[in-house]
Every structure is written in C-alpha cells, then in structure tokens.
C-alpha cells in the first residue's frame, strides 16, 4: 500500500486513526499499541500476505534473543546469543537481497552454471533488519531498557516508518509511548502531522514525479545503447537527482507527518542535502538515519578514527561500500558507495591539510562556498548516474555523454534541437525544482517553531522563510498545495517510491 494510494488515504488511514481515537478516548493506552501494531501488519501484508510470516518471525526471534542478551546470563552465553542474532539477521538479508547477485558473480568468475531461482526481495527487509540489529547491539551494551513484546513489535512494525524509513532507534520511539505523559490526541499534533504529510505528498507527486518524466526516458534509452548529446544527458542526470531527492524526502515527510498524527515523533531524515557545500556535510543531510546507523554500528565498531589515519580512511571506505551494497545487490551500487567513500576520504584529507581558511561571511569565504557547493553537486550527480543506470555500461555511457566524449549518434542532434526549441518547459521546470531544492526552506525549517522531528540542531532550523503556524494563511496555503496534489491523481496513476526498492 502506497502512502499516496487511494486505498491507503481513504480506507486504511481513516480506519486506523478512528480505532486509535476510540482507544485513546477510552484511556486504553496499552491497547493503542496493539491496535497500531495490528494495523501495521495489515499494511505490510497488503503487499504480499505470504511475507507477513517473515516480519512476524523476525520480530519474535529478535525479541527472544534480545531477552537472552539482556538477561543475567553469563557474558559468554549473552555474547553467543548476540552473534546468533546478528548472523540470523544479516543472513536473512543476505539471502533475500544478495543470493542471486552472489550466484551470478560466482558463475561469471568461475564460469560455472549454478542456477538459483529469482529470490523476491521482501518489502522493507533492509529497514527492519537494521533497526533490530541496532536493538540487539544496544541490549548487549546494556543501553536498552526492557520492553514488552507489544512495545517491541510496535517499534519494529509501526507502519509510517516500516517500508522505507526513517530508520528509527528504539530509544527514540518507545520512551514516547511508554511515557505516562504521552498525549497523542493533541490538536496541534494533528495539524503539524497533516501539514507535513501534505508537503510530503507535494514533493512526491508533483516535484519528484514531474522530474521523473524527464529522467526516466533518458536512462531507459541509455539502457538500450543510445548515446546522448551533453544537453540531453545533463537533463536526465539533473532530473534524476531532483527526482530521487524529492521522492525520498517526500516519503520521509509523509512518514513523519503520519506518525505525528498518532502523536509520535520520528527522526528527521533529510536536511536540505543539496545545499551542502562539501561531501561530509552532504552525508550529514542525506538519509540521516542511515548515515547514523552506519556510523554507530559499522564505522565505530570497525575502529572509527581511533586507530590512525590509514585505518580511519579504510574504515570510511568500507562503511560506504556497505552503505552502497545496502541499497541494492549490484556493482552499480558498490561503485556508488565506493565513490562516496573516496569523496569522503578526499574531503577529510583536504580539511586536514587546512590549505586555506577564510573568515566567515567574507567574500573569499562565499566564493569558496559556492565553488564547494558546485563541486559537491557535481560529485553527487556523477554518483547518481551509477545509482540509477540499468548497468555499468549504460552508466559509463551517460558519464561520457555528460562531457561530450563518445560522439553522440548523429540522430541525437535533432533531439537536442527539439529539446531546446520545442521543449523549453523542461528547462523551466527543472530550474524551478532546483531553486526549491537549493534555496527553498526544508520541511523542518518551515515547521521550525513546533519541533517537527528529532535529531536537529538549532542551526539547521534557521531560515529567512516564514515559519508555519496553525493560522488562516498557512491553512489556506496547505489547502492550495493539497489541491495541486489532488489534481495529480487525475493526471497519472500513483508511482512507487524509489526507496521501496532498497
């Protein structure tokens, strides 16, 4: 069930919310969690009921293992249980996500003919696996309170964050609902939640899907071997960069907004990443909850920056390679992760050299800021080519097209002219969406007066744009945005979220 599908908006959500309302009004807070967990499993099972057993089994196994890891048993028993849990989680993820990839590569390397039927990737497995791995590790470290089974199930399955994140930490979610002062039925929560959800819908259905109309044909055609002229290739790459950002941040906003309607705050997942002036800042703003997981549960356990510069940079590379592979079983994703690993290493090295430092606000500082932003965006977009292209060949072909290498086929020339002369609207549209991404306020900046989510520094919320308040003008603005979104339902059928694939 997609968040913007008719069945979700007009059947699932109202039923779930009314049930929630009745239980809260009756003061049965324990039952609220059971109800939301049940609804979340229905939400998950809508995609394929057969895989319900997988998530339910995963919850049962991890909860049980967590109990042992957190018990008073000997350190040896607890440690062994943790290892079993990690192997079980990573093993399941490896099987469902990477088995075909592994066998295909074995066949290529050894020239063998192993045959494995296509393993279907269960929805959300990458997300709920990571959340539970984090839980087990935290229990091992002694950093986790004991939760009831219902609380734990709710933490894993809560539908707004189940399918594509944000990757929530148990210490963010469960203390909210375990707190006796939890007041989920505040009108302000509903107003904030609905507003964020509308903004998410707008990002997804208007901005992201609008950019997809230009990105998809270019990448699809590239997969068939067509070589593009630079203008066309840049249109495709810029369009995809914007599509991916607004698609995923739109989804995150919808998740955060939906959760807020139930009185629960989620962590922020995006913080205007296309405003970043270097790659380190980009990764503090892009898919924040994944970066946080990789830092806390991969990079730091590997040694982080504690074992010297060389180990630090190799840890960074390994972490980013794992991050790439997490997104998908393909060499494209490995290269994408590796590229970002290299970018980060270069960025850290550059910072360490301290070649120059300008006073904040000076002209020189602004010039280097703009140059840094341009270079960062260039690096990020090159990475997205590998992320999106059907295979390495077509990715490389697009990269060549971007710089005019590989001489576009002669028939590409009329297409360029066509794009410039007959289709200026695509440049206007992409320019408009780019301006929103670069200069517009982020959702959390717009909602800054009301703490829209966790994990935000105060400086991230500063903005010259007007801040949202539950007033007439902001209400009318939300209504106008909602109407624009509503019209999209008559123009195209709901498209999937890109991050459902990861």
């Amino acid at each position: 069930m997609l968040f913007h599908s008719v069945e979700f908006l007009f059947v699932f959500l109202p039923i779930t919310w009314i049930g929630f309302l009745l239980l809260v009004r009756a003061g049965r807070f324990r039952s609220v969690l059971s109800w939301l967990t049940f609804a979340s499993l229905v939400f998950y099972g809508w995609w394929n009921p057969a895989y319900l057993s997988l998530i339910v089994g995963s919850i049962l196994v991890n909860f049980s293992l967590g109990r042992i890891v957190g018990s008073g048993a000997s350190r040896k028993v607890r440690g062994a249980t943790l290892i079993v849990g990690l192997i079980a989680n990573i093993g399941a993820l490896a099987y469902f996500k990477y088995a075909n990839f592994f066998v295909d590569n074995i066949n290529v390397v050894l020239g063998s003919g192993f045959n494995l039927e296509k393993v279907i990737l269960p929805l959300a497995i990458s997300f709920f696996t990571f959340q539970q791995v984090a839980y087990l590790v935290d229990v091992w470290k002694g950093g986790s309170p004991k939760y009831s089974f219902i609380e734990y199930s709710f933490f894993v399955a809560f539908f707004p964050q189940l399918i594509a994140g944000p990757i929530v930490h148990h210490l963010e979610i469960l203390p909210q609902v375990s707190n006796e002062r939890w007041k989920p039925l505040r009108m302000l929560n509903l107003q904030i939640g609905v507003t964020i959800f509308i903004l998410g819908l707008f990002k997804k259905m208007v901005l992201a899907d609008g950019c997809a109309e230009y990105a998809t044909p270019i990448f699809n055609a590239s997969a068939t071997g067509i070589v593009f002229a630079p203008v066309e290739a840049w249109v495709g790459v810029v369009a995809y960069s914007l599509q991916l950002y607004f698609d995923f941040s739109g989804y995150s906003d919808m998740a955060i907004g939906l959760s807020r309607c139930f009185g629960i705050m989620l962590p922020i997942n995006f913080d205007a990443p296309y405003k970043a002036t270097n790659i380190i800042a980009f990764w503090r703003k892009w898919h924040i909850t994944l970066s946080r997981f990789l830092r806390d549960y991969v990079y730091i356990p590997l040694g982080g920056s504690r074992k010297g510069v060389t180990i630090r940079y190799s840890n960074l590379l390994i972490t980013m390679l794992i991050g790439g592979l997490w997104h998908g079983a393909g060499w494209n994703f490995v290269i994408w992760g590796g590229l970002h690993g290299v970018y980060l290493v270069v960025n850290h090295l550059f910072n360490a050299l301290r070649w120059f430092h300008f006073a904040a606000g000076s002209v020189a500082s602004r010039i280097t800021g703009v140059a840094g932003w341009a270079l960062t965006m260039l690096c990020v977009m090159i990475g997205w080519v590998f992320f999106r292209a059907a295979d390495l060949t077509s990715a490389w072909q697009i990269i060549q097209s971007l710089v005019g290498v590989g001489a576009p086929a002669t028939e590409a020339l009329p297409r360029v002219l066509n794009a410039l002369l007959e289709g200026p609207e695509k440049f206007v549209w992409l320019g408009f969406v780019s301006l929103i991404a670069i200069f517009g306020p982020s959702t959390q900046q717009y909602l800054r007066r009301y703490r829209p989510g966790f994990a935000l520094r105060r400086s991230h919320l500063e903005s010259r744009w007007p801040a949202w308040r539950p007033t007439a003008w902001h209400g009318v603005l939300s209504g106008v945005i909602l109407f624009i979104v509503f019209r999209r339902y008559f123009q195209l059928s709901p498209s999937e979220f890109l991050y459902f694939n990861f």
Partner: protein, 337 residues
Amino acid sequence: MKYFGFVVCGWLVSALLLVAVFSGSLGFSSSANALNIGAWYDVKEAAMASHPDGGRLVLIGGSSGLYGVRTADVETALGVPSVNFSVHAGLPLRYLLDRAKRHLRPGDLVVLAPEYEYYHPSFETDIYVDFVLGEDPGFLNVISRSEKFRWLMGAQSDSLLNGVKRWIPSSIDYAETVRKHSREKLNTHGDIAVNDLKDRPAARAKALNAVEDLVSFRASLTYSAEAWSELEAFLKWCQEHQVSLLVAFPPTVQFAVYDTPEVKARFAELVAKWKSLGVTVAGDPASAMYPKSSFYDTVYHLNSDGMTENTRRFIDLIRPYASGLSRGTKGDGVDEN
C-alpha cells in the same frame, strides 16, 4: 479544527480558480498539433459539405488513412464522391467516430481502417485534450459528467495556458498562420499532399529508420473488449442510419515477425472478429503491408509513391462495393456473404 477549515477553504479557492481558467481556455488553441488537426477537419468537413446528400465514400482512420489513400484518385477511378476523413491517431476512436457521425448521411459508404492501436483500450493523449478544449469544446457536451470532472481536474497546465494565450495578439497571429499552413498540406478531398520523398526533412528519414514492428514497439497486437464495444456501437449506428460499413486495414511497414505463426494468428483473429459481427472485410492485413522504402516517416505514413500504390490496391478492393453508391443504393452495413 479552525485550521482544517482554512485548509478546506484553500482547496475550494483553488478549485474555483481552476474552473475559471478551464472555462477561459475553451475555444482557443495555440498548440500546433491542435491547430493542425482543427484545420484538417475544416478541409475534410468542407469536402463532405460539397456532397451533402450522401452517396459518398468516406475513409475513416488515423493518419495511416490520411497518408495512405488518395481519395481524389478514388473518386476519379470509381466515379463516386470520396472524402478522406482520416486525421490523427492521437485522437481516440470514440472521438474519430463521433466526429464522422456528425457528417455521415444515409447512402454513404464508410471504409473504416483504424490503426492497430485503436483495438487497444481507449487512451487520452495531450493532443486530444488540447484539441478538444481548443478546437471542439462542444464535444464536452457529449461526454458524461464524471468524465467532464476528470477532464477538468486532469487538464495539464499546458492545455490551460494554451487557451489563456487568446489574449496575446501574437498567439492569434500564430494560430492563423498554423491553420493556413496546415490547410495547404491537404488537397480538397482531405488527402495529405506533402509526403513526397524529395521534400522530406532529414530528421523524418531518420525517424523512419528507427521504427520498430508493432509487436515490439506496441507490446502486442491485442484487442480489447472496450474497443470492440465502441466499434460495435458504431456498426449499430451505421445500420440505423443506412450507412454502409466496410472494414479495411491500415498500410504499415512489412516486418519479418509478421510472418510468424503467432503474429499471423493475431491478425487472423482480428479479421475473424469483424466477420463474426457481419461486417464486410476488404482485403487483409498482409496485403496492406509494404517495404519500408514506401514510407515517409512512421510505420503508418506512406510516402507519395507508396500512397499511389496503396490507392490502386484500395480502388481494386473497394470497386465491388462502391458500384452501388453511384446508383444511390443504401447499404445496411451487413455482410451479405
């Protein structure tokens, strides 16, 4: 709750604004495609009006008919008033047939040769929406309220802006220029007159080189219940209005895949379906296929030489059925065989 009241207000104000812009967009177009099609219908309807009492041969289809048959030659060869009422496959079947019905008279012979895509479920293209809003807003009276609502809500910004441009003088000049230029592309029978290879732009030649067979490009030669329902309704209308109906097949590029048993079976299925409805089928799909060299720019657009050849074939096919027209015989649209 007050806040949500304002959200609803914002929604309603936007809806009212859309209704106003949509209404203002009706009856004027600055889209080249819409203007083109509008101008072509002007020529074709003038041709129909020159023989207002029926007894005409009327070819209906998408642009395969426009580029495929020179009805001026048909008229000369058969001595029957002939009009090429084929326009553009961007218009759905429903519209093509509805527009034709406005001008058909008892005693007419319709040769219906839709492109194979017309047997798929109906579709609405931007060209169609632009055209109806700008050139034929009266058609909105034909569609249901729910469809009207869908059109209103789904209208693309481009379509809405096309109409708003009526207040820009240069847009009016542009529209007139495009109309005039489009009318000049047709002869007085409504046949295309600008498909000579020697005048073909290089880009058009390249477009032809890139064409694919219908099975690969259009996914499959499939026939939908929705399309058949539309066609059967038209057949019934013809019978009720004493208009004879013949079915023919559009000229298209010959590809090797069409000789495979599976694809042959799909073509045969189409012919059999028409025959089962009691409709006379003139020729067969294979006989309307030509080498790529006979085409102008797409799988359906013959060049001038190809058009001449196909017109000769068409005349031979139609001759037995057209003989009654000159005597004023009124057909019943049903196969007598």
